[in-house]
């Protein structure tokens, strides 16, 4: 469908975001690296395999339980590199600041970024600042790019997924989205919901060491577990069966979803990956994840059953079945 103007929904990580990329950017920037549409581009320069990625951060509110826009900007890029098998090394950062933005807030954000970079063992080696007139941005926007080296021998890609693979997630889903909604709606929570924003490079390095046969990893950010699984199923042309009961969700996140009418499957994560590997390696992968602080609640949530029309089928908690597809529309609470 053709639109005259960009809608907010084009940025939602759902169907319209996909259309925006595939209809506008891909045909014009056409090249085999971009066409893979993975979280990072994997490039070979000389004998060295490198991964390279970029992401912009416009989160609102900029401070939320469990982090702020600065930590998010480091974690997001570190994770995009890591899920492609990369060891993140260096990052850039670009700041777009609104006239009148408080220095006190900026200092906290930069300090958090520095701490996040230290934890992830990456260096911020280049950057840029721009200041625009009041109203031209909402406080602060940050762009980060990152580069890393790829040492993993296997090919991590949606195209490597095989029937018989199991699907593993490294912990509870929806924490980040729920934390943001809670902060945005000014809800006074009875139990604190914290964003899961975290650097996963160490967890992923340990996991890759535990199995040489991992087929694919994806960062389950915008659009949540549901959108990423639906995207993978379509792209890999496989059927993914998921068992709702086995998906880890925190009780307080589930409670918020029940009250406001959200589905945790489609809430954003900032510290969660989805991993595909042969069933024979599942135990080793799971153990490696569970031994790490960012993977304690890791679980097998489903499997790739057979190659047919690309789709995700969820076995519901009461034994029914439903399709999980790319979300459309902005996330809105129910109206009656």
């Amino acid at each position: 469908m053709k639109f005259d103007k960009i809608l907010l929904e084009h940025g939602g990580g759902g169907l319209l975001s996909n259309e925006l990329i595939s209809q506008y950017f891909l045909p014009r920037f056409q090249n085999p690296y971009l066409e893979r549409l993975e979280d990072s581009a994997v490039l070979t320069i000389g004998n060295q395999k490198l991964c390279f990625t970029t992401d912009s951060y416009v989160v609102s509110p900029i401070f939320f339980p469990g982090g702020n826009i600065g930590s998010l900007a480091v974690h997001g890029t570190v994770n995009d590199l890591s899920v492609c098998g990369g060891k993140p090394l260096y990052m850039s950062c670009g700041f777009i600041l609104e006239e009148g933005f408080p220095f006190a807030s900026l200092e906290i954000i930069i300090q958090t970024m520095a701490e996040a970079a230290t934890e992830a063992n990456v260096k911020i080696v280049t950057g840029d600042t721009k200041v625009v007139a009041r109203g031209a941005v909402d406080g602060i926007f940050i762009n980060t790019s990152g580069i890393g080296i790829v040492e993993y021998s296997g090919i991590l890609s949606v195209k490597s997924i095989q029937p018989g693979d199991v699907v593993i997630v490294n912990g509870t889903i929806g924490d980040h989205g729920a934390a943001i909604i809670q902060a945005r709606e000014n809800l006074s929570p009875t139990s604190d919901i914290l964003s899961d924003s975290a650097p996963l490079n160490d967890l992923i390095a340990g996991t890759l060491q535990a199995s040489p046969n991992i087929h694919c990893m994806r960062d389950a950010t915008r659009g949540g577990l549901g959108a990423i699984l639906a995207e993978i199923a379509k792209s890999a042309q496989v059927r993914i069966d998921v068992d709702e009961k086995s998906i880890p969700v925190r009780e307080n996140v589930l409670g918020l979803c029940e009250v406001l009418g959200f589905d945790p499957l489609f809430l954003a994560n900032e510290g969660k990956i989805i991993l595909f590997c042969p069933e024979s390696d599942a135990k080793a992968v799971l153990e490696a994840m569970q031994s790490h602080r960012y993977g304690r609640d890791a679980a097998i949530i489903g499997g790739v059953c057979k190659t047919e029309q690309g789709r995700v089928v969820l076995k519901t908690s009461i034994g029914g079945e439903r399709i999980v597809d790319l979300p459309t529309g902005e996330l809105v609470p129910r109206i009656c």
């Binding site: 907010l8 439903r322 459309t328 902005e330 809105v332």
Partner: protein, 362 residues
């Protein structure tokens, strides 16, 4: 009690399915049950309940999604109001993408510069009105007896606090007249109704007496899997014994007389008026309009109302789907032309819309 786990308990679900299968086996004829409420349609899809039922028990969806039953004319008026200069147009999120004539929507109006704001609760409008005293705030009042009292409360507050830059564009509807219309529809063959739990907390169980009187089974039902399956079982028992009644499955929320305080508030601000329903046409006394003493808060009286007389979108099957005469798959546009990205009718937009639920979950 956490009110989630217990009502999704697989063992209880299994037990109820067994009861349902037992009754279903003894029934001579297939049974058609309509869930009136959009939240039921959504829950049935989300939990995959339809497939768990015996083949001779058919669930069809009714006109209980307030977004879906809003006529194209009312959507066109909303689009007009949102485009007026100096207006902040507040709406519940589900209305954003509903297409008016020619595919225009509040979402597109917003991208063109209209100040359209999504609110989760009508009382957010009071804050918006106070902080934008030079602007006119129009709230699109949509929903059934569940939502209307909250809008009534905001209108009351605005009158008390002398907030003059707020008005309501009311497309509110009430449920009982629509049920009368359904019962009178000769095309519709329904044996029993799953009645809406939330609306019933307001209007009470007595509001459904016309169902058993018309020989139809009725059960007011909650929204969890155990609720819905127990509701189905209650309906089947009524049908098997031919003793029709209004059963209250959702007893943790519903009383026979309803919430009289909320209904009093509603009727102090609103009065009934004829209303256009998509699919059902104009139903006498089925809408809510502001009483004369609240005329200052009635958008249609405050602004020169445009003379928009558009009909429903040609080719769109939402009308028949809302009456339960057709399923989404029977509509020639479904999945082909009409998709969640390019919704032709509102049933494809709202998360509780029948077409959207079928598109997503089946």
């Amino acid at each position: 009690m956490k009110f989630i786990d217990e009502y999704r308990n697989p063992a209880i679900v299994k037990g109820l399915l067994k009861h349902i299968a037992d009754v279903a086996q003894r029934l001579e004829n297939p049974v058609t049950i309509m869930e009136i409420c959009g939240s039921h349609t959504y829950a049935i899809g989300r939990f995959g309940i339809r497939k768990l039922l015996p083949d001779n028990i058919r669930l069809i969806s009714g006109p209980g999604c307030p977004v879906c039953v809003t006529s194209t004319r009312d959507v066109d008026i909303a689009l007009h109001l949102a485009s007026l200069p100096n207006v902040i147009f507040a709406t519940f999120g589900d209305m954003l993408r509903v297409p008016g004539t020619g595919g225009d929507s509040l979402q597109k109006k917003r991208a063109e510069g209209a100040d359209v704001r999504v609110v989760s609760s009508a009382d957010e409008c009071i804050g918006i009105a106070l902080s934008h005293s030079a602007k006119e705030i129009i709230m699109m009042g949509i929903g059934f007896e569940t939502t209307a009292p909250t809008i009534a409360a905001v209108v009351s507050t605005c009158r008390e606090k002398d907030i003059r830059n707020f008005s309501v564009f009311s497309v509110h509807k009430i449920v009982p007249p629509a049920i009368h219309a359904l019962l009178a529809d000769p095309l519709l063959k329904i044996d029993g109704f799953l009645c809406p739990g939330h609306v019933s907390t307001m209007i009470g169980a007595d509001a459904y007496r016309m169902m058993p009187e018309a020989g139809r089974a009725a059960a007011i039902t909650g929204f969890e899997p155990v609720d819905i399956l127990e509701g189905v079982w209650m309906l089947l028992q009524q049908i098997e014994s031919n003793k029709m009644d209004v059963a209250i499955q959702y007893s943790r929320g519903v009383r026979p007389e309803g919430n009289t305080r909320a209904m009093t508030l509603l009727h102090s601000v609103f009065e009934t008026a004829d209303a256009q329903w998509r699919g059902l046409g104009t139903i006498p006394a089925s809408g809510l309009t502001l009483r004369d003493e609240f005329a200052a808060f009635d958008t249609m009286k405050k602004f020169s109302a445009p003379d928009i007389q558009t009909g429903d979108i040609p080719g769109c099957g939402c009308g028949d789907i809302l009456r339960g005469i057709k399923l989404p798959h029977d509509c020639p546009l479904f999945r082909k032309v009409c998709t969640p990205i390019n919704p032709i009718g509102p049933c494809m937009v709202s998360s509780e819309g029948t077409c959207s639920t079928y598109y997503k979950y089946y």
